[in-house]
């Protein structure tokens, strides 16, 4: 039985703002809004001789609590393009998944591999439309027919195309590491170590970042290596003692076994539930 609404036009879909007046009213009365899960985070990207490396930590926080000790912040966009996301976790996930679907449809339509500039343009137009309310700060990296590209995309929709970028709450620590160690056209092991060091600087010096370092290397041949975890920087401690008592600690003095007599009063067979 359908519920009927007294509206004169069916709304289109997308975001609705029906509850905003109610929420404002409630907040005036003293209600505290629930906190969103953020990936207050360290995400970095770097172009090296053989392609592009993206690095990220793996902690997701809800205000001051660690919500997820090992979350994955490097999202798939296209076979040759990956994107790290900082900010509200739901926003980064949904945005990257939507753009990824759109790019797949575009690939079906045109028959050509995706370019990183296309992904960048789609993301920036989407984020600008929502004026920063979709809180997603992204590091987009990939390799296409024109070479390796790296973009940083801010929540309000501005983008920068740079050889090395960092975003998130740990971005200052990571950028300091990059500024000290970056050289153009680095070799692969050197580049992986520098990205690992940058993310580790964020992990150890920023409260919003922690746990492990994930790396994603997109090579010039468009081969992707997703190393998760690349480096377990924070091992969880091993318990040193066991407080359980060994069986036999308490001496048994006597044992009495009494069987409980019961009669079967009735038997019924239950038919299978109709779950249609």
């Amino acid at each position: 039985m359908a519920t009927t609404l007294t509206c004169v036009e069916i709304p289109n879909g997308g975001f609705t703002f029906d509850n905003c007046t109610r929420n404002a009213h409630l907040e005036k009365k003293g209600m505290v809004a629930p906190k969103t899960r953020k990936t207050g985070t360290t995400i970095v990207g770097m172009v090296f001789e053989g392609g592009v490396i993206l690095g990220a930590d793996t902690r997701a926080t809800e205000d001051t609590i660690v919500a997820d000790k090992n979350c994955s912040k490097i999202h798939y966009i296209a076979p040759n393009i990956y994107c790290c996301g900082a900010g509200t976790a739901a926003d980064t996930e949904m945005t990257t998944q939507m753009i990824s679907s759109n790019l797949q449809l575009l690939r079906y339509n045109t028959g050509r591999p995706t370019r990183v500039a296309t992904a960048n343009r789609m993301l920036k137009q989407y984020l600008y439309r929502y004026q920063g309310h979709v809180s997603a700060a992204l590091v987009l990296g990939g390799v296409d027919c024109n070479g390796a590209h790296l973009y940083s995309i801010h929540p309000h929709g501005s983008t920068d195309k740079l050889p090395y970028v960092t975003m998130g709450s740990g971005s200052l620590a990571a950028m300091a590491t990059f500024e000290m160690g970056y050289k153009p056209n680095m070799k692969r092991p050197e580049a992986m170590k520098l990205v690992r060091d940058a993310v580790a600087a964020g992990i150890f010096n920023d409260l919003g970042s922690g746990s492990n370092v994930d790396l994603c290397i997109i090579g010039n041949n468009m081969k992707v290596e997703y190393l998760r975890p690349f480096d377990v920087a924070n091992e969880k401690g091993v318990r040193q003692g066991n407080y359980k008592y060994k069986p036999g600690t308490t001496e048994v003095l006597s044992k009495v076994v009494k069987p409980i007599k019961f009669d079967i009063v009735s038997e019924t067979v239950q038919e299978a539930m109709d779950t249609s």
């Binding site: 359908a2 519920t3 009927t4 609404l5 007294t6 509206c7 004169v8 036009e9 069916i10 709304p11 289109n12 879909g13 997308g14 975001f15 609705t16 703002f17 905003c20 007046t21 404002a24 907040e27 005036k28 949904m94 939507m98 679907s101 759109n102 449809l105 575009l106 079906y108 339509n109 989407y126 439309r129 929502y130 004026q131 309310h133």
Partner: protein, 138 residues
């Protein structure tokens, strides 16, 4: 804290609910006049107008690059489809032809994430037909 004067005013359609220009409390309930003019969220106005504005922008660009005939033809196709294939407003439609003409058949947008496709709500047929035909209550 959301304060009304920070946000632009909503622009509801200039036709009032009823014939004599007052809001009908039977239809829209008792409400304050302020909520008609003050939006609760800065994005409300821009989201409501987004599709129309994008279409305008695209038509303008078409007109500038290809001449007046290009948007005219597109507009003609859209009008023809609207006349031929739209159902009554309260009936469920897939809007397939309109989607193809607007280029949305190869796109996934936020409207597909939060869509009313599978919702179990329908609009009241009488109200919707009256709105479509421009009949207003007294």
């Amino acid at each position: 804290m959301i304060r009304g004067d920070k946000f632009e005013t909503k622009q509801f359609s200039t036709e009032a609910d009823t014939e004599y220009g007052v809001t009908s409390s039977l239809r829209s309930g008792l409400g304050n006049v302020r909520s008609n003019f003050v939006s609760s969220h800065p994005l409300e106005k821009s989201e409501r107008e987004y599709d129309d504005k994008m279409k305008q922008m695209n038509f303008n660009m078409l007109r500038n690059s290809q001449g007046i005939h290009a948007p005219l033809r597109k507009q003609m196709e859209l009008t023809a489809i609207n006349k031929a294939t739209t159902r009554l407003p309260f009936l469920p439609t897939s809007n397939l032809s309109q989607d193809i003409l607007n280029g949305n058949d190869a796109c996934i947008s936020i409207q597909d994430n939060f869509s009313h496709e599978d919702s179990e709500i329908m609009g009241d047929p009488h109200l919707m037909m009256e709105h479509k035909l421009g009949l207003k209550p007294l």
